[in-house]
Symmetry: C2
Subunit: 99 residues, 2 copies
DNA sequence: TAAATATTTAAATAGTTCTTTAATTATCAT
DNA sequence: ATGATAATTAAAGAACTATTTAAATATTTA
């Protein structure tokens, strides 16, 4: 059931969906306006993101509201840490530039 | 020429190669021992990682030494920041625990 | 219950990716 | 140059992905 986070992130439109949902929750029909594809294609991508636990859905009347799932970032974060977490100079710099 | 970093990271064996190379540089034949595939398959994955600028190669006699490219992490880092960079608490904590 | 709206799922297809074996290129040592 | 070693590339096929149109499901409203 739980799909690969990495495969989910590997596609441009899906990463774009995530960035859009980070701005604010949206319905599929609303999201579809931002893309040059069909609603059906967006719906499929939403399913893939949901299977990877990157987003959540909640029914709201006849609509379905999609939102970022703030939890399940773990797998990608873990790889990121293992891979590049050591390079503390740059990371520390980045963190501090935000403070 | 430059392939997608995300597609490159989307495959298990390739992420494994990156983690192995992070330990220390390796030759293709050496890497292949860690996998249940052919040398040709490893070689293809190395090309994909190189096209994504995630690794570097340097010839060393008849062999080719592969190593992590510490630079080009930018694209994935940028997305990571945009998407989850807000959660600075955890990131900062991690950085400081290493100091 | 029937019509309207919102979204998902199915079927089909085109395109991409991964893996394998076999052939090829490159370097080194004699 | 020849033979040996190291690695890449080519060709072929299987497996997977993404997109589309059309049909199906779920919910609301009349």
């Amino acid at each position: 059931m739980t799909g690969s986070v990495w495969k989910a992130l590997a596609e441009d439109n899906r990463r774009q969906i995530l960035l859009l949902l980070r701005e604010h929750d949206m319905f599929p029909s609303e999201l579809a306006k931002h893309f040059d594809t069909t609603l059906a294609a967006v719906s499929t991508n939403l399913r893939i993101l949901k299977d990877a636990d990157l987003i959540k859905e909640t029914r709201e009347g006849q609509k379905k509201r999609y939102s970022i799932n703030p939890k399940k970032t773990l797998e990608i974060k873990e790889f990121f840490d293992k891979m590049w977490g050591h390079n503390l100079e740059g990371l520390k710099e980045f963190v501090e530039s935000k403070e």
